[in-house]
């Protein structure tokens, strides 16, 4: 008989090993899924994980894309991970991302077509503020009334989507766009364009911000009292309260951070790679970032790696669509499975497997 025995402390080796194990398991089960879809499994796995980086023909295009996709994922996931560590479940990052994009883009478009160098920084501020404000709604409701932040933050995603549809058709619509929905394109508005810093590197300001956020979160969590308070609140809420940590403060801090980073990510995306506000410019990064946060073990450095890996599956998935005709949805499923296997293998981190009969004491 197999039984589980709780470890006195989470195993460090397993903490590092489970993401690798989960990726391998996902590859195996994903391969079976691809085979069931009638596609060559080994080739599909190779196209997803290897070809975006090393294919002689496509790699030149897809390598920069890696940073473009990883940037927002890392930025959002870093913000989410702080909350998840404290047991605050902000799952509405997608909404905060949209609101950040709307506010930031609105700020920029209001100054069209001036050329001040201050416009782009102002847009970033507006974007972060927009995301922050959107995240403050569940925060205030949780602190004031004890309302469940999971449901509120998620409901606000749908509200944000409705707002996005509205502004791209009305308020922010391109006046020279022949009546098509969608805002002006930031590529034709140099002062507000989040252009690549080095040509063809994929490195734009959002990627820089993501790296800064990783370092910042690392310092916060390991060196700063607020980071310690966040971890304490998650691991021992009662102990945290006895030692004078205000739960309200932690809620505001975590949700605010998550919102601001998601909002900034939205702004960087809309003014750079996406180029304009459209009804569906958001591509679910807010939800994928949840997987990134867990895959990175809620640790800043882990999230950096997990974000790059998840970006790889996005790009590899597109490549596999192109080369094998693999359905786009299978990549979505692939990413979901990754989270599932990660949570499943996580049991080894906290528990030890014991074989043999239960001893009666």
């Amino acid at each position: 008989m197999i039984r589980l025995e709780r470890r006195p402390q989470p195993s460090r080796a397993w903490t590092a090993l489970t993401p690798v194990l989960a990726v391998l398991l996902t590859m195996v089960v994903g391969g079976i899924m691809f085979a069931l879809l009638g596609k060559p499994p080994l080739e599909a796995i190779r196209i997803i994980f290897w070809d975006p980086l090393f294919h002689p023909q496509f790699a030149a295009y897809s390598r920069p894309q890696l940073l473009v996709k990883a940037g927002p994922l890392i930025l959002i996931a870093i913000g989410l991970s702080l909350g998840f560590r404290a047991g605050i479940w902000n799952i509405g990052a997608e909404g905060q991302y949209i609101m950040g994009a709307i506010c930031g883009a609105g700020m920029g478009l209001a100054f069209y077509p001036t050329t001040s160098p201050l416009i782009f920084p102002a847009m970033v501020m507006a974007g972060a503020l927009g995301g922050w404000a959107w995240a403050m709604i569940p925060a205030v409701l949780k602190v004031r009334f004890g309302t469940n932040e999971i449901l509120v933050s998620l409901m606000l995603v749908y509200v944000a989507e409705a707002l996005l549809a509205s502004v791209s058709q009305k308020l922010l619509r391109n006046p020279e766009g022949m009546g098509f929905p969608g805002s002006r394109n930031f590529k034709q508005f140099p002062a507000a364009h989040n252009a690549e810093i080095f040509a063809n590197s994929g490195m734009h300001w959002g990627v820089i911000a993501a790296f800064v956020a990783v370092i910042f979160a690392y310092v916060l969590l390991t060196r700063h009292i607020q980071g310690f308070n966040i971890r304490l609140t998650g691991e021992a809420p009662r102990a945290a309260r006895f030692s004078g940590v205000s739960p309200a403060r932690i809620i505001f801090l975590c949700l605010g951070f998550g919102g601001a980073l998601a909002g900034a990510a939205g702004l960087f995306e809309v003014s750079g790679p996406a180029g304009q506000i459209t009804i569906d410019f958001n591509s679910g990064y807010g939800f994928t970032a949840i997987i990134v946060a867990f895959l990175g073990r809620l640790h800043p450095v882990g999230i950096l790696l997990a974000g790059l890996l998840m970006a790889l599956t996005y790009i590899g998935g597109e490549l596999a669509q192109l080369m094998l005709g693999l359905p786009g949805a299978s990549i979505q499923l692939f990413q979901g499975m990754l989270l599932f296997f990660l949570l499943a293998t996580d049991v080894f981190t906290n528990f030890r497997l014991r074989f043999g009969k239960t001893e009666v004491t």
């Binding site: 589980l4 009334f145 749908y158 409705a162």
Partner: protein, 307 residues
Amino acid sequence: MDLSSINPILLIASIMISATPILLAAIGEMVVEKAGVLNLGVEGMMITGAVVGFATAVSTGSPTLGFAAAALASAVLSLSFGVLTQMLLSNQVATGLGLTLVGLGLSALIGKPYEGMKSPTMSKLDIPILGDIPVLGPMLFSHDPMVYFSLFLVLAVWGFLKFTRAGLILRAVGESHDAAHALGYKVIRIRMMAIFFGGACAGLGGAYLSLVRVPQWTEGMTAGAGWIALAIVVFASWRAERILIGAYLFGGVTVLQLNLQAAGARVPVEILSMSPYLITILVLVIISARGAHGAPASLGRPFHASR
């Protein structure tokens, strides 16, 4: 705006239709939560039910088979959540989210070939005498069998939890799993059964969306219905009869805003289309501000029998 274009008889009838999917999902989730498990994957199970039900009904021509297949598929999917949270002791919130993401991906993958198809319609139940009552007949007694099944299910769950021994054990497991374990009840087995039931209900709710309410398959068609079902469980303070009220209230809001949009109300369309979500938030706030929650004491806590 022309309010007279809204026919009250059709309005009530369509409220019943639009409330049914949420009602089914919410009553299932309530049983799960009563057993002390927080399954946030309702949205994922619903949409899986929607696509499996639709695909089965289209290929067999029988909506009844569609519903059965949907219930089975979602229940099996929910077992993956059960294995992870109950046997491998993973975090319930994270696993529920994972279940939603998996369900959304899976449904998009299965549903691709079925986009744009029409499902076979479910015949309406002709209740002989009641259906002929002038106003009430078309309002209440001329729906498809699933509407009445969902009402029956609420009654059955209410009775099960209140009057049966098994219901008492289920509630005990949800209130204090350690005490239930000490009394010799199989906590994990009971929770797995509850999760299975919740999955089946969510699947039925999803299939009702794709087979009756819409009736078509489009990607992401549940549009948060699973999350609203979760909110309704909170709204209902974990009581079956209030689940009914909650679901019909939300059904009412949804239908009313659609009717107002069609009638050309002077309220902007985007405000109307976000109203179900805003009202969900509002209701959650009111309920939580009142303080008394009535949540099962062991809700969301992992159970591990160390000896």
